[in-house]
């Protein structure tokens, strides 16, 4: 049986529940990924928070809280076929117990560990590679025009919610938006609280750059160029550490 679900984490947990209590899953597909197959039957799974909650309790109780956190992080990656990968990992863990995570090279554990490492690395890297601009947000109902921080990112994985706590603490007194341009989502944060919401390019267009912004950018670019030691130039090393796919949002890497 191939399960079709709505692409949410709770939906995925519901599929895990159905796998154990109704029919074995041969595939779990988010919307858009399903390609009809003559041989395998498919079924739509409706997200049920009660069932999802039961699966969550079971994972935390029978495997470990760490396993649940790991599954959540891996679910936020954009790995192909992550649902079946996680289901197989879960089945293995339910059998082996918490020690399963230590079998690093096991064929069911290794891909999960690698995916987890990938999103972890990206989150860490983005903590440094996000660039805010000081922009003025339009005056709204009951709110005057304010200066806020705005950053654009296009991460490989859904890293936003793991980045949010770091920046929400760091800039607790400044309202800021981190905009994931690839997925049309954004983090909105102020005073240590944050939430995720949809955010489009049209919304972004309402934010106006402030006058001082360009001045600080050119200061930064200038400083960046100054810091390189000519005798040690090593562009390959630079690119390894700061992959070119992040450059579009870095003022210092723009052509000048």
């Amino acid at each position: 049986m191939i399960y079709l679900y709505d692409g949410t984490f709770d939906g995925f947990l519901t599929c895990v529940y159905e796998h154990y209590y109704s029919e074995k899953a041969d595939g779990i597909c988010p919307p858009g990924a399903y390609q009809p197959d003559m041989l395998a039957a498919s079924r739509r799974v409706h997200t049920d928070e009660g069932k999802a909650g039961k699966v969550e309790t079971a994972i935390i109780g029978k495997i470990s809280p760490y396993a649940f956190a790991r599954i959540y992080r891996v679910y936020r990656t954009s790995t192909d076929g992550k649902e079946m990968m996680l289901l197989n990992y879960l089945r293995f863990c339910f059998k082996r117990g918490p020690g399963a995570a230590f079998l690093h090279s096991h064929p069911l554990v290794h891909p999960v560990a690698r995916a987890e490492q990938k999103i972890g690395n990206e989150v860490h890297r983005l903590c440094g590679l996000i660039r805010f601009s000081s922009v003025s947000a339009p005056a709204g109902e009951g709110a005057a025009q304010t200066e806020i921080l705005y950053a654009r990112v296009s991460p490989d994985h859904e890293a936003l919610e793991f980045l949010a706590p770091h920046f929400a603490d760091r800039f607790k007194n400044e309202p800021f938006i981190i905009h994931d341009t690839k997925r049309g989502r954004a983090v909105f944060a102020w005073q240590r609280r944050w939430h995720l919401s949809d955010f489009t390019e049209q919304d972004a267009a309402t934010l106006a750059s402030t006058a001082r912004e360009e001045a600080y950018r050119s200061l930064w670019r200038n400083y960046f160029d100054t810091m390189a030691i000519k005798e040690r130039t090593n562009p390959r090393c630079q690119r390894n550490l700061m992959p070119a796919r992040y450059w579009e949002n870095l003022p210092e890497m723009q052509l000048r």
């Binding site: 082996r96 690093h104 760091r170 001082r212 200061l219 130039t233 090393c237």
Partner: protein
């Protein structure tokens, strides 16, 4: 903001870029002020064209120096334009960069403006404005000017996360030769004060994994605070519920220039081991000498910076801090320089084949770490998996072991996987052929770079042949 800020940023950034230390690690703090926090692992924000990371705003407060150190771009006699930041101006710039997430904090250094104390006071003023007026809770690394008086150093330590005093050169003789105004006591005095104050404030911790690995590393553990009451500082308030004064919670580091003077690698490694041991330093950085001036005491201007040598020294440094090696294991008086073709761990293994092959499924952690190609991460993974199931040879690659090197030195459940005899020349031949060439234009170890010392014979105790003696005298000075 006007064009003068741009000008100062360029000139003073230019002067600071040869400082090697870049890390923003070691302090873990949520936002206790109004802006900023610090992550224990540190965060890199950008990488410049030379591949070095930009994490902190590394900048001089001033480059108007009264000293005349021969190797330095800012020496008094150099023909460079001189600029000085106003403390408030620099603090404001730091905050604006920090808000945009360009940087993780401030690395404040300075040339000696008027006198060490005058400079230190201005640096303190800048840091105080950041901490108190802006409520900045992010990372601050302050460079300590040698011969700063203890009172000002103590204040700077209370507003900084990390302090560093540059040892600059690995021996007293070289220091006398190239930096005649810097005195040994002026460098080691502040270092000792930092260590002792940290011990009193109970923020002293050993570098790397030194505290955790093996009995031989006992000496690296911080000494008991009781023996340091002589430092004369007010002890930290530790009662619950009271604010605890933190003195340089991320520890201290230092750096030395490599390739400008005649010391061999053994001497350098021994010196850094002694620094770790004596001061519980977090890091000792090496900086490959880049010719910025022509002087008879200095190497030829056309010399390429010894990047390969620097790389090997860092590898040896990692062996000291994370792998439980001692300096005398890595190099000896007979072979005092690091090999350019193979890394120091492989060289050690080839000299001590009697320890190998090591059985992956039985050996304790300290022994696993001695296998070339096995690092801390993969060794920990091996230890973990062993609790659940035996480790097979095919598993090792997935665990992150570099089999290209490791296969000659291990067995898996009794089986050896190297493709020949366990014989040094054979393995050496194999590994050299597969080794990736290192970047850098330097071709051979130190001898060609070492200029003939020009001072009289009595002052040069450690010449090319006996590089070790200068180091001992340097540390004799510490015993006083």
């Amino acid at each position: 903001m006007d064009s003068s800020t741009m000008d100062k940023l360029t000139v003073l950034g230019e002067g600071a870029k040869y400082d090697v230390s870049c890390s923003s690690s070691g302090a873990d703090r949520s936002n206790i002020g109004r802006i900023g926090n610090a992550a224990c692992a540190g965060v890199c924000h950008s990488w410049s064209a030379d591949g070095r990371c930009i994490s902190l705003l590394k900048i001089l407060l001033s480059n108007d120096c009264v000293y005349d150190c021969k190797y330095c771009v800012n020496r008094r006699t150099a023909n460079v334009s001189r600029r000085t930041f106003e403390p408030r101006e620099l603090a404001g710039l730091t905050i604006e960069f920090y808000r945009r997430n360009y940087i993780e904090g401030l690395f404040l250094s300075s040339a000696v403006l008027v006198s060490p104390d005058h400079t230190a006071e201005r640096m303190y003023e800048c840091l105080w404005i950041l901490r108190e007026e802006y409520g900045f809770a992010g990372y601050i690394h302050a460079k300590v000017i040698p011969s700063t008086s203890p009172e000002i150093l103590h204040r700077i330590g209370l507003v900084s996360d990390r302090l560093s005093v540059n040892i600059e050169l690995p021996s007293e003789d070289s220091l006398a030769l190239l930096a005649p105004q810097k005195k040994t006591q002026g460098i080691f005095g502040p270092m000792r004060q930092i260590t002792e104050t940290q011990a009193e404030h109970r923020t002293l911790s050993a570098p790397g994994l030194m505290g955790k690995l093996g009995a031989g590393m006992d000496t690296f553990r911080p000494p008991a605070p009781a023996s340091f009451t002589a430092a004369g500082n007010v002890p930290a308030v530790t009662r619950r519920g009271r604010y605890k004064e933190r003195f340089a919670p991320a520890g201290q580091t230092t750096q030395m220039i490599v390739g400008a003077t005649h010391e061999n690698d053994l001497h350098i490694i021994r010196t850094s081991e002694a620094l770790y041991r004596r001061f519980s330093m977090k890091r000792v950085y090496f900086s490959a000498y880049i010719p910025v001036a022509s002087a008879p005491e200095l190497p030829d201007m056309t010399m390429p910076p010894p990047l390969k040598r620097e790389h090997r020294l860092y590898q040896a440094d990692w062996l000291l801090r994370f792998y439980g090696f001692r300096a005398d294991e890595i190099l000896s008086e007979d072979a005092p320089n690091l090999d350019y073709e193979l890394d120091p761990k492989v060289v050690w293994a080839l000299r001590h084949l009697e320890f190998f092959p090591i059985e992956i499924n039985k050996a304790p952690l300290e022994e696993l770490l001695r296998i070339p190609g096995v690092g801390n991460t993969s060794a920990t993974r091996i230890m973990r998996q062993r609790r659940e199931a035996a480790v097979r040879y095919d598993d090792l690659k997935k665990m992150g072991v570099v089999l290209k090197r490791a296969k000659y030195f291990l067995t898996c459940s009794g089986r050896y996987y190297g493709d020949g005899e366990l014989e040094p020349y054979y393995i050496h031949e194999k590994l050299t052929r597969e080794a990736r060439p290192l970047p850098g234009g330097d071709t051979k170890a130190i001898a060609p770079y070492a200029p003939a010392p020009l001072l009289d014979g009595a002052k040069i105790r450690g010449s090319l042949a006996g590089g070790g003696t200068g180091q001992i005298s340097m540390f004799e000075a510490l015993q006083v």
